[in-house]
């Protein structure tokens, strides 16, 4: 069995808030939610992909994590990137839900990209084919 990517993670400042944002605004689906000391092992998956790569909503309590997030946000660098079918349409829906779009849908060669604020300390890039 070859190696595979089963999980990827993003630092968040508040797990409950992150779960709400990532499910209600972005449309991810809760997968694992296991109490783990003061925090939770909290993951979501893409809709229609229950066995797909999990996104771990990881507490940013380490001071270096916060500094890392701040430095990325200052320069406008997304913490990670997700794929959608149509960035422009997706971003319109997000704006209607009150999400802050920091970079409107922009064609960049073979892809269309946009950047949003996840309210948990990160910028998130969205991409779709041009």
């Amino acid at each position: 069995m070859p190696i595979r990517i089963n999980i990827t993670s993003i630092f968040v400042d508040d797990q409950a808030k992150a779960l709400a944002f990532y499910t209600e605004k972005l449309g991810f689906v809760p997968k694992n939610d296991v109490p783990l000391g003061p925090h939770r092992w909290l993951t979501v998956v893409g809709p229609g992909e229950p066995d797909g790569t999990e996104l771990l909503l990881e507490p940013d309590e380490h001071p270096a994590a916060k500094a890392y997030q701040r430095a990325l946000v200052e320069d406008g660098i997304p913490a990670t990137s997700f794929a959608v079918d149509d960035v422009a349409a997706f971003v319109r829906e997000l704006e209607a839900k009150g999400v802050t779009v920091t970079q409107p849908a922009t064609e960049m060669g073979p892809v269309v990209v946009a950047t949003i604020d996840d309210t948990c300390g990160n910028l998130i890039q969205l991409t779709s084919p041009a």
Binding site: V73, G76, I77, T100, T102, Q103, T106, M108, G109
Partner: protein, 90 residues
């Protein structure tokens, strides 16, 4: 205030100004992305950051914060120095 002539003498810096003319208010990440994806510029993020510092020193680029993000805006006012010095005859 830095020298606008020196600031304008570099092709990458002129390209940054071109990109800000097309869409004003870009982050460092967006500027790097546009230069790389649209113009094949291979400079590092650090190099672009230094170019921006030169442009800012010359007054051609201003920065401000939107939330926690720093954005760069074009300011063409210093270019007036050129036509003031060498007026364009009608």
């Amino acid at each position: 205030m830095g020298d606008i002539f020196r600031a304008l003498a570099d092709p990458t810096r002129r390209q940054i100004l071109d990109e800000l003319t097309i869409r004003d208010g870009l982050t460092l990440f967006e500027i790097c992305g546009r230069l790389m994806m649209l113009h094949g510029v291979v400079s590092s993020r650090q190099a672009i950051s230094q170019h921006l510092a030169v442009l800012e020193e010359a007054g051609l680029v201003h920065t401000r914060r939107v939330g926690r993000t720093k954005i760069h805006e074009l300011n063409t006012a210093p270019l007036r120095e050129i036509i003031d010095r060498w007026p364009i005859t009608p």
